[in-house]
């Protein structure tokens, strides 16, 4: 990184064949990823999926076991963190406790001998509306203010790439909403490439223009938030981003525009372009809010899929909508969200109901049915806790 100069604009980030092994486990198996300049990119996944490791590889705080990292077309794999045009907003903010807010923000500028560091630091603090607290120490600020200082300290350097490691995790809900909007507007204002790591799907969807869903060290699906939500490719994505009703059956008929899947004797039609696989056993899904709850069996209509009858086993009211859970014999549980258009619930526990959805709303997944429970054992919290404990034990033994 040339000293005394800012990056002209955001830069592309390219990860080529990245693999990262730690003693005892592999964090990232094989990762190829391109993030275009100027975008707000979110890496979304459960804890332990390798997303933070990916971020640290880009920042240079970890070295990949294999593969290359390219920023703006330049190979930076061998460069040290301080030689990369990248800045990070850390999860814990990592503000220097012995420096004032102003000195914290000016730190990066001073290291690179950029003219007028204090003036530029004040400017960055004005951007996050904290200039009046410039002389305070970090521990005199609230969590939200510290987060904004951490952001200003990174943004002031105009890095080609700004990395955000769950920076909103420690904030309460209301503050988080506010910060999400602020982050988004700052990104639009300064036009840098933002790479945001989070496990909060709502945060990823509201802020990012491209989301990559990560699981077990691999990217399951990448695309615009709406695209991921409307057309998930795998069961993991279908359940990690919102909720889905999934049914598995055999393909019994294929036309040029649609496939027919037999689910326990019921024919379900899925448009071919919305199905990842067109033969054999496939899993089809539909979002709970796309379902209609019906008290009578509907007329047969080729543009609508119908399942039922089933019985409602749970009704829970949540203001704008009501969630119904019903069981359909042979098929299992189905969740339905209905907007509360009229007062009072549509149906009660024990009512006999049918569900229907437009053919256009269904989707077919790419998973092999056997692999469909992708929330597999080694990503749940109990396993992660166990791994942590083992790591701790081995460290204790060593000491």
């Amino acid at each position: 990184m040339a000293s005394g100069a800012f990056a002209e604009s955001g830069a592309d980030l390219e990860l080529v064949g990245i693999q990262k092994r730690f003693p005892g486990f592999t964090a990232i198996e094989h990762l190829d990823l391109t993030i275009p300049a100027g975008s707000f990119f979110a890496l979304l996944g459960p804890s332990g999926c390798g997303k933070t490791t990916t971020l640290r590889l880009v920042a240079g705080l970890e070295d990949p076991t294999e593969g290359r990292v390219l920023i703006g077309g330049k190979d930076v794999t061998k460069l040290k963190p301080y030689q990369r045009p990248v800045n990070t907003v850390f999860q814990s903010y990592a503000l220097f406790p012995h420096m004032t807010v102003l000195e914290n923000v000016a730190f990066g500028l001073r290291r690179r001998h950029i003219a007028d560091p204090l003036g530029k630091a004040h400017e960055a603090l004005r951007l996050v509306e904290l200039d009046h607290l410039a002389t305070r120490k970090p521990q005199q600020l609230s969590g939200g203010q510290q987060q904004r200082v951490a952001l200003a300290r990174a943004v002031v350097n105009r890095p080609a790439l700004l990395l955000l490691d769950e920076p909103l995790g420690a904030l309460d809900l209301k503050l988080r909403r506010q910060m999400q909007l602020e982050l988004k507007s700052i990104q639009e204002e300064v036009g840098l490439t933002f790479v945001h790591v989070t496990h909060d799907q709502e945060e990823a969807m509201t802020m990012a223009d491209t989301v990559a869903v990560m699981n077990k060290g691999e990217i399951e699906q990448l695309g615009a938030p709406q695209e991921l939500y409307e057309l998930p490719r795998t069961a993991f994505v279908a359940n990690f981003l919102g909720q889905s009703n999934l049914f598995t059956g055999k393909v019994t008929g294929t036309t040029s525009s649609a496939i027919t899947v037999d689910i326990e004797g019921v024919k379900i039609i899925v448009p071919s372009k919305r199905a990842q696989r067109h033969t054999g056993e496939v899993t089809v899904g539909v979002r709970p809010e796309k379902l209609h709850l019906l008290l009578k069996a509907p007329k047969v209509d080729s543009s609508v899929n119908v399942l039922g009858p089933g019985r409602i086993i749970d009704v829970s009211f949540s203001g704008v909508s009501t969630q119904y859970i019903l069981t359909i014999p042979g098929i299992g549980k189905v969740t339905v969200f209905q907007q509360n258009m009229s007062s009072g619930p549509l149906a009660h526990e024990g009512s006999e109901v049918w569900v229907s959805w437009d053919v256009e709303h269904g989707f077919g997944l790419a998973d092999e049915p056997a692999a469909s429970p992708k929330f597999s054992a080694d990503t749940d919290t109990a396993t992660i806790a166990l791994q942590k404990k083992q790591a701790l034990m081995s460290e204790l033994e060593e000491a």
């Binding site: 963190p81 730190f107 290291r111 060593e398």
Partner: protein
Amino acid sequence: MISKLGFGKWALPLYAIIALTFLMIPIAYTFIFSFNDSLKTNIVWRGFTFNKWLDVCNQQEVCEAFGNSLIIGVTATVCATILGTMIAIALVRYRFRFRSAISLLLFLPMATPEVVLGAGLASEFLTAGVDKGMVTIIIAHTMFCVSFVVVTVKARVSTLDPALEEAGRDLYGSPNQVFWRITFPLLLPGIIAAALLSFALSFDDFIITYFNSGTTNTFPKYVYVSAARGIPAEANVIASAVFFLAIILVLISQVSSAIRRKRLEKVS
């Protein structure tokens, strides 16, 4: 019941007063007798004078021993603090072969009886053919001070969030800059505490010094040796001065931290 309460009310303060008096008598005695217009010995009160305070180096030996102790204390402290800080950082931050063995070995000088350490070192110097003197004392003191520095600084390093140093590197700080601008200032309170501790340990060490000093005199050694034929009042002057200096330093640090806390409260 009442009598029990009454007993509790006066017994504890009385006990405290007796204990404090018992502790203070030698110090008070030393201080008072630094004003004694004594001749060779300083046992009988012969009248009040400021002369001993104004002319401390009248008894050359006392001053020389005190000077030696200062030189040894400062040098050993500087060496032990630098070495100990580096060891502490390495032990907390890095994983390497023999790491746990080194942690264990560092505890040994604290656990071993001083007589054993002193005698062991003395025979070591003898075998190696090193003349005993100032240098051997400094080496000996550095050795046992390092352990205390490592323990003190290690506690500080392990509370330091590694993300702070990572943030420094991320913000274009070279390893050198990150150490001096982030790690070092944040460890400084621990390092200062360690340095004060090792100076105190070095300054009043007698046993290890006695084995390894040869003809070089230190203040504790001088006091011990001359106790047999009477300690001159100049020694009382130096002892009292050191005592009050320590008290003043403690007071200054307490007051300044109280002021700082009040200022923080006012701002927030």
